[in-house]
Symmetry: C2
Subunit: 448 residues, 2 copies
């Protein structure tokens, strides 16, 4: 499809830009109309690319886009999953260009969603268009795009249950992950799950003057720090009771397979500009993000955070805490265990609330599967080397749900790179990856 | 002066309101014009009350108001100190009425600054007016009102040095503190000092996706929590190296004197709505806020604090940390010790910055002094009981500076009450305290 890309390059970019220009931030109420707009635009693009039908379906939350092309009931069916919602853009002041006005710098598109996931789902639409128009599509193809992935897909599972038949397929094909590097393609054969909670620690029922009360009344911020600090032990183990009960230890053999992935710790550290990495004792960096669970504070706030100094002993302190889970750990169970543990360690001079935000389970797919093999051949053709099987640290909880509800394995052919800094200011996506991704996806269909 | 108050009650309130309506928040640049307005209004009020002169003096920061009435060089001179700046009002949503539109509810004025310190400095202006017009003033009186007390008085010390002669006096009289209760008047004979710093912990040089990096890269929020948590030991001792070196242990006798102050722990806890108090082992609650230093986080922030969930492993985490100091601890020394200690405990997977915000030393005045005795008699007349000598937990660092620069003791006749919740939403000041304060101040002049 190289030539096809050359011929249509400019149109492809303009079509992608039309998606990137819509600020579809799913976590913010004010952007609800943008979600609608983005969903409708995707349906248009699907029809233009050759779908028989493409519709926007309302849900409890943001709409789902479903489109398909029926070629022949006897041919295999591919269900392409993607999400059109994006992360918030703050801290906005760190963006070099408007997050919602795409700009090309040094061969990469800079915009929120350039990679995650608008850029990556767009590759599937264009590979599909190519096959329909030029190479004779030999599959039935279905597309499902949701608008709530960044907030834990609260609506899609229910919607999928109601549309089980419509979603019947042989494989779920997804591009929402990264490759190890431009030189080292990889296919993600497992993802971590997620348990995300918000905690609130309350001390006195009003803000106090820290001079009059400091030293005699527990400060909820100090207490929150104590409690958070106690959640991870010296060895990097999470102290929540029962947290590791369902974690499956990998065999030495599997660990060796994953260790095939080339990894340069010095490169990693200099990319992040850190002196040292930190994590669970006894595991490598790749294992710490791939096959081991972890706990992070994603946000913390309390007291006076404005300009200047305010001598306040605040009434409340808050934190958003998430735990990444490995396959076989159940998200709801972990959330319950965390809430129980966090309350159990609260000293009696504060009150503690734990509010579950969202979560989902991890999953694994067999390297032996025909879909994995087809993807492997396709990427070998495009990149000239056989891709490495990897484990993704991130969570796409909804994929575990779809796998459970539809009984189909997801295959993660991701073309993102670390350098893309998704979820951060200046998210970007290399044009070379965008176009190689389209090629690889078209080749996948040839081998599958 | 009871009758005089009766006669002029409504005018007094309107004049006080004219001050309270000006949002003179010293820590926020946007309020700079309000600082000017407030200063000019104070000068007007001083002249109307009977000052020979009253002028607004520019400084590096917010202006200083100085006014005086020269009665007779042979008579004693009283220097009245107050501050017209106020604390920020956030969280604004918790205010029952506009913080800058005073409202009387249940016999109290509700407004930012109603007590701290506009309400309390106003008592001095009106007591002065009464003496000038009705009872024959027998003192030289000087007023100095600054606009930077809530941000650590960065300009006043230098200004006072330049105007040493103009400020010559026998006593510094201040109302910017509380009494133990309406029934138990007290005179503050010592204040804690302050060291206030802002800290910044930096991990990776960009925000990261917590799924891709969580578990392998140190999260600066978790690290900040660890570090903050380590600053206070199990026994409530501050772990900063050398922190207690200059702390003077009080004699059993002095501790007994202070213990005369009636104090009901149950009342205290129910007022704050807390199950338990918390503080340094081996000291009572009053001692913990009066004669012992402490450390509090006044504000903390980092990562995603908006609506919904964002799975970010942030680049930075911040906190505002203040330490209350007791007499003989030097603020600058403590700030230096803190910075050294905080950097020394920083793990090598993060970078740490410590920025001093402001501070000042504590001080003590002898109960035997003639000024203390005059204040004691005056309050006994008004409240019918002899006031208790107390130690203030709050800091008025500038008073320690003025004491040092001018060589005059400050006397703290404060009429605030705990219920006034200064620095918090719904700051208030009881009318009864406002008017009794005026009486007591007029009587102080009679006995001094």
């Amino acid at each position: 499809m190289k030539q096809y890309i050359e011929k249509n390059r400019e149109r492809f970019l303009q079509e992608l830009y039309s998606l990137l220009r819509i600020p579809s931030v799913s976590s913010m109420e004010e952007h609800r109309p943008d979600m609608e707009r983005c969903a409708r635009r995707l349906a248009e693009l699907l029809l233009e690319a050759g779908a028989d039908t493409a519709e926007v379906y309302p849900t409890e939350g943001h709409p789902v886009v479903f489109g398909e092309r029926k070629t022949d009931p006897d041919l295999p069916t591919v269900l392409v999953y993607g999400h059109y919602d994006v992360q918030p853009v703050d801290p906005i002041e760190l963006w070099k260009s408007d997050p919602f006005e795409p700009e090309i710098r040094d061969g990469a598109i800079y915009a929120r969603g350039a990679n995650d996931d608008k850029g990556q789902l767009f590759m599937h639409i264009k590979a599909f268009e190519y096959m329909v128009r030029e190479s004779g599509l030999k599959h039935n193809v279905k597309f499902i795009f949701e608008g709530e992935e960044e907030i834990g897909s609260p609506s899609l599972a229910a919607w999928a249950k109601d549309h089980r038949d419509m979603l019947k397929a042989d494989i779920i094909l997804v591009s929402d992950t990264t490759m190890i590097s431009e030189k080292v393609p990889s296919i993600n054969c497992g993802m971590r799950g997620l348990s995300y909670v918000e905690v609130k620690v309350t001390g006195p029922d009003k803000d106090l003057h820290s001079g009059h009360y400091g030293g005699a009344v527990a400060n909820p911020i100090n207490v929150l720090c104590d409690m958070v600090s106690s959640l991870i032990g010296k060895d990097g183990h999470i102290t929540v009771k029962g947290f590791y009960d369902d974690v499956v230890e990998l065999s030495e053999e599997d660990r060796a397979k994953l260790a095939r992935a080339p990894f340069d710790l010095e490169e990693y550290k200099s990319f992040l500009n850190i002196k040292e990495v930190k994590g669970e004792k006894g595991y490598t960096t790749l294992e710490r993000t791939g096959i081991r669970p972890c706990l992070d504070v994603n946000g913390i706030w309390g007291g006076y955070t404005g300009e200047g100094a305010k001598t306040v002993l605040p009434s409340e302190a808050h934190a958003k805490i998430s735990m990444r889970l490995v396959p076989n750990q159940d998200s709801e169970t972990i959330t319950r265990l965390f809430a129980e543990h966090f309350k159990s360690i609260a000293p009696d001079y504060v009150k503690v609330e734990v509010t579950p935000c969202h979560g989902g389970n991890g999953f694994l797919i067999p390297i032996s599967s025909s879909a994995y093999q087809a993807a492997s051949k396709a990427m070998t053709d495009v990149y000239g080397v056989e891709p490495v099987p990897s484990r993704g640290g991130g969570s796409i909880p909804v994929l575990a749900d779809l796998q459970r509800i539809l009984g189909i394995d997801p295959l993660l052919m991701g073309f993102g790179l670390e350098r893309d800094t998704i979820h951060s200011p200046n998210e970007s996506y290399l044009l070379s990856q965008l176009f190689k991704g389209m090629e690889a996806i078209a080749l996948f269909y040839r081998y599958y």
